[in-house]
């Protein structure tokens, strides 16, 4: 066998391997990415409220082992010492506890208001309105020692610009349910 034919043969083999490798890349790139990013994607999905689950007005939805129902959303107008054009908004929920292991299921509980543009407001500490004794916030309810079948009354207070109050709707996210979250429709919807 001459050197020339050897070269030619190895050239053939090389071209074959080049083609094979190009095809393999199609498989290997996603595989390598998936292998490396798997844990991070899991963390990302477990930490963000990404996919809304719509809840019609007056309906309750099973979420984090309990049944959630929006009972009221109203503005508290006429308060002094607030930034101009801002309105405190109260969101009231009634939650029938199913699985009482709230410390696990309700971890990372986050109630928010979302407007038509997708802007999100978290509960504020700038306004504190007096509430009846048996009203909890989402976080304090975790430690309320509620049992199966109990009904918890939750209230969160927000501070929202006046022009946003027309389109805001409340939403609830729990670590145990993320990336899904509850998105409540209002009476007027």
């Amino acid at each position: 066998m001459t050197a020339r034919s050897l070269d030619w043969e190895s050239g053939q083999g090389e071209r074959k391997w080049r083609r094979r490798s190009l095809w393999a890349l199609l498989l290997l790139v996603p595989l390598a990415l998936a292998g490396q990013a798997y844990d991070s994607v899991k963390t990302l999905l477990g930490g963000e409220d990404l996919f809304p689950r719509q809840v019609a007005w007056g309906q309750s939805a099973h979420f984090g082992g309990s049944d959630w129902k929006l009972t009221d959303l109203r503005g508290a107008f006429g308060m002094s010492s607030l930034p101009p054009d801002s309105v405190p908004v109260l969101a009231d929920f009634s939650v029938k506890v199913g699985d009482p292991d709230l410390q696990k299921l309700w971890l990372g509980c986050k109630v928010m208001l979302i407007d038509a543009e997708g802007r999100r407001w978290s509960p504020t500490s700038a306004v504190s309105l007096k509430a009846p004794g048996d009203v909890h916030t989402c976080v304090s309810a975790i430690f309320s020692g509620a049992r199966r079948g109990d009904t918890l009354n939750l209230r969160e207070t927000f501070l929202v610009p006046r022009q946003a109050t027309k389109t805001i709707r409340p939403a609830v996210g729990l670590a145990s349910e993320r990336p899904h979250f509850l998105f409540f429709q209002l009476e007027k919807d």
Binding site: W17, L22, L28, V29, L31, A32
Partner: protein, 441 residues
């Protein structure tokens, strides 16, 4: 002069263009299997810490195999290197193993120097750290897996060495009987990797202990104080004035030492490349003499148990086939002219530097995001340009370029006309190189 420097650069691009699909695919295979073995090792560590560490060997071995395979891929495009290789082989036995057996042999030959390099630059520690981090992540919350590295300080280590020696012996026997030779060859390689991996890591740990013990002796501190006093008599005579910490800086010596090692790393990689291309020497008299001396010394150890001796011999007596090529590789590099060495160092570091800036540029291009989102995105960026820790270059855009560059430098060194006229002392047979080039042309 500039033409000399430009030649390897042009060759680098030519190699890259000709082989990039294969090279990228290999890097990706390395990433996939490295991840896989790391996960397996971490899971095994829950059952048994020793087993976890033994499996960790596979992670390092994967990286080595990928590197070796990448260099092998480039070989058809390196006529001068191939000619040198053939000349060396014909001077030796003349036996040409092929296929998987050749790769396995290549891995074995490169094993110790690769790991030595790996350990010297602290990468072995990186792998081990990564491993303990993965096991920590895996441990269920509130439940500790314990220190998975505690085995490194126990006598179970000896047991592990003994077990892998037994397996290796068995594999050797099987290989001699001629059943599935390349498979048993691979088993042998894995066992040897295990020794070296554990051995080097333990040595580097014990070295710290020994230094710590020395430092804790009073004699030593007296000596050191004396030495310090001699070195800086005036500074120590007066109390140092209070200097705000932000005004102090790293002193020049430390900076120079850093720079030296920064510039040395490319040379070491070139040596590894030379080694992988199997550039063996068998007749270097100077080195042979040293070898015989060591062998005589080694004879005294023949009284210790055989498996321990085998283990120790990996570090001592096996060096003839393993270290001589290194010594020779250094010689090739340094004798191939300042221009080439400078091209090697600057070019290698430039690749490095560009990769880091590409990383930074990409982050700016993608823009700010929440940490969890960036955790995901960063895997994509790392896949392209290597990890931001810069502890291993596994970026699919960087690693192939680096390998091509090293191969191109080596090829240029072998093809230098100077070597062909005054190469009588060189065992590579520059005549052969010229012949093959003529044939190719």
């Amino acid at each position: 002069m500039f033409a000399d420097a430009a030649k390897p650069l042009a060759l680098t691009l030519k190699l890259w263009w000709r082989f990039w699909p294969q090279l990228v695919a290999m890097v990706l295979l390395g990433i996939v299997f490295g991840d896989l073995f790391m996960q397996i090792a971490a899971r095994a560590a829950f059952l048994n810490h020793m087993a976890g560490l033994a499996l960790l060997t596979l992670v390092a071995l994967t990286q080595l195999t990928v590197t070796v395979a990448m260099f092998q891929t480039l070989l058809p495009a390196l006529p001068a290197t191939r000619a040198a290789q053939q000349a060396a082989r014909s001077e030796a036995s003349g036996e040409v193993p092929s296929g998987g057996a050749r790769l396995a042999r290549m891995v074995t030959v490169a094993l110790l120097p690769f790991f030595a390099y790996y350990a010297a630059w602290g990468f072995l520690g990186d792998t081990v750290r990564q491993y303990s981090r993965v096991t920590l992540d895996m441990a269920p919350f509130g439940e500790s897996a314990g220190n998975v590295l505690d085995v490194l300080d126990s006598r179970w280590l000896v047991l592990s060495v003994a077990i892998s020696w037994l397996i290796r012996r068995f594999a050797n026997a099987m290989q001699k009987r001629g059943e599935a030779r390349s498979f048993w060859q691979i088993v042998v390689v894995i066992c040897e990797t295990n020794w070296i991996f554990i051995g080097l890591y333990v040595i580097s740990r014990w070295k710290d202990d020994v230094v710590g013990w020395l430092m804790s002796r009073n004699i030593f501190s007296v000596l050191q104080a004396a030495a310090d006093g001699m070195a800086a008599p005036i500074a120590s005579a007066f109390a140092d004035p209070m200097v705000p910490v932000e005004v102090t800086s790293v002193d020049t010596t430390a900076r120079l030492v850093n720079l030296f090692f920064y510039m040395l790393l490319p040379v070491i990689w070139l040596v590894l490349a030379a080694l992988i291309y199997g550039y063996d020497v068998r007749d270097d008299k100077e080195l042979m003499r040293a070898h015989q001396r060591v062998e005589r010394l080694g004879a005294r150890y023949s009284t210790i148990p055989k498996f321990l001796r085998d283990f120790v011999e990996h570090f001592i007596s096996g060096y003839r086939s393993r270290y001589l090529p290194i010594a020779n590789g250094v010689r090739i590099t340094l004798s191939s002219g300042v221009v080439l060495v400078v091209t090697l160092i600057v070019g290698y570091r430039l690749v490095d530097w560009l990769a880091a800036w590409a990383w930074l540029g990409t982050t700016r291009l993608i823009g700010p995001h929440e940490l969890d989102t960036w955790q995901v995105l960063s895997h994509g960026v790392s896949l392209l340009f290597g990890s931001p820790f810069q502890d291993s270059s596994t970026g699919i855009l960087v690693e192939p370029l680096r390998i091509c560059f090293l191969a191109a430098i080596l090829e240029t060194a072998f093809a230098l006309p100077k070597r062909q006229t005054s190469g009588g002392a060189q065992p590579t047979g520059p005549k052969g190189a010229a012949e093959v080039e003529a044939q190719n042309a």
